[in-house]
Point group: C2
Chain length 276, copies 2
């Protein structure tokens, strides 16, 4: 029998174990250099709230903290709705793995869900000028890493750094690309959260060499509601990221994701540890 | 006896109750329209980790979620170091109040602490051109609210909205100001966290009218280490914020805080609920 499940759905499959507890497992399709891609871990933490029977509304804000390497294999997620109001709900999540449970969670998260309703609307963060998706050649990710193959990436600026090419001395770490799940899949809150971590470490671009680097905390603020996501379907998104300050072995990075019509779908900020 | 404690230190005074549990109380000096200023609540949550005996390193990332109005009076904060690594430590915090404890926490938070060490350093987010602090007139906050009096604010752009003046039809919500505790106080991690929430709701600027609005989640990424803060002392900081997208009754806002030499001290992103 051939498993025709989309790799994202496979990585996000959670089984209820007990009230507020879910079982899942890492998927080799999402392997990073060590353990799984951080974006899929953040998405799994969100997924536990999304599939929880107590869920109210849709995600508005998510913060995932990466406490330790996630080992390949099974994990458990505890997801608790710690406060439910009329129109908002507050979640705390923690991912543990049996072998390291005594040391604490491998990841923690909080999320705020909310009931969206019609309001005054405006956008200040404008979408950059983009060539049509079809006209931008797809980029090959670095060969030895698996997870970038789960995305179609078409870079307009700031493509994967070729460490073998001469350094450009770039003083700006911006990447701008067309981005879509590969194979294409209708956008939802979990896939949107995963996409916010898609940008390779900005410090690679600035130093033009590989250095150990890993996200320690990522925050995603969602602008698209369920209706907007349904309307979006499996269209590509416009994705941009840049670093702000690198100091003391940490840096931060902001990201924005727009739909093809230029509507902001999500904004993100992450803090990254690096050695270099 | 006259209490000469700085109002910020008074609001952040926590007494150990039990392992991982601290008692505190709101302070009238920080009153907002309902309950205390959100920035002081975020700072109190961080403070519980800062004063915790298990603390390792200094704050790198903080997310505080505002789950319910904080009532004037006593509160408790539970702060747990859920994972301690060699150079990073992961915290979860929750603030509860006796009268509403059955409904869950009034605020939750996560923080990542880290040991900063020398590394390659660079900055991409440049400080805007600023007139000297002394040359910018201080702004009066809206009279009926107490907490803005805890800050010296000198606006270069985007000052407090005067709802009685004609609407400007601004399509940009940016505020840029010199900012300092009032009275002046040496900058530390808690005061820096509090400052990240200092910007009045961006939606006031865009709609030019008062609408109910409240932060539901704020994330702060710290760039200044303990040495940089000690060097900074009680100098003013340069603070900027703008909204990104307003839709479905929520919007997000980003903020940057620099020292007078233009070094980024902290970056922040918050998600705000509004009715309008």
């Amino acid at each position: 029998m051939i498993d025709t499940t989309h790799p994202l759905d496979r990585a996000l499959a959670l089984s209820p174990l007990a009230p507020d507890r879910f079982a899942g497992a890492t998927d080799p399709a999402w392997a990073n250099m060590v353990g799984p891609y951080g974006g899929i871990t953040a998405a799994a933490l969100l997924q536990a709230a999304l599939v929880h029977p107590a869920r109210l509304g849709d995600p508005v804000a998510l913060t995932a903290n990466f406490a330790a390497p996630v080992a390949d294999g099974p994990f458990e997620i505890e997801a608790r709705a710690v406060r439910t109001n009329r129109a908002t709900q507050h979640w705390t999540m923690a991912m543990t793995q049996a072998a390291t449970a005594a040391d604490g969670p491998v990841a923690t998260a909080t999320a705020v869900f909310g009931v969206r309703r019609p309001s005054w609307a405006a956008q200040e963060e404008h979408v950059p000028e983009m060539p049509a998706f079809e006209t931008v050649p797809p980029a090959q990710g670095p060969v030895p890493i698996e997870w970038p193959r789960r995305y179609a990436m078409r870079f307009v600026r700031g493509e994967w750094v070729d460490f073998d090419a001469p350094a450009t001395g770039a003083e700006n770490s911006e990447s701008l690309l067309w981005l879509r799940d590969a194979p294409a899949r209708p956008l939802d809150f979990a896939s949107l959260a995963a996409m916010c971590d898609v940008f390779y470490p900005r410090v690679f671009r600035r130093l033009h060499r590989f250095v150990p680097a890993g996200t320690i905390s990522i925050t995603v603020h969602f602008h698209a509601g369920a209706d907007a996501l349904a309307e979006h379907g499996d269209a590509p998104v416009i994705a941009r990221a840049h670093g702000l300050r690198y100091v003391g072995g940490f840096y931060d990075q902001r990201a924005e994701l727009w739909d093809p019509a230029g509507r902001l779908l999500a904004t993100s900020q992450q803090s990254v540890y690096f050695k270099g």
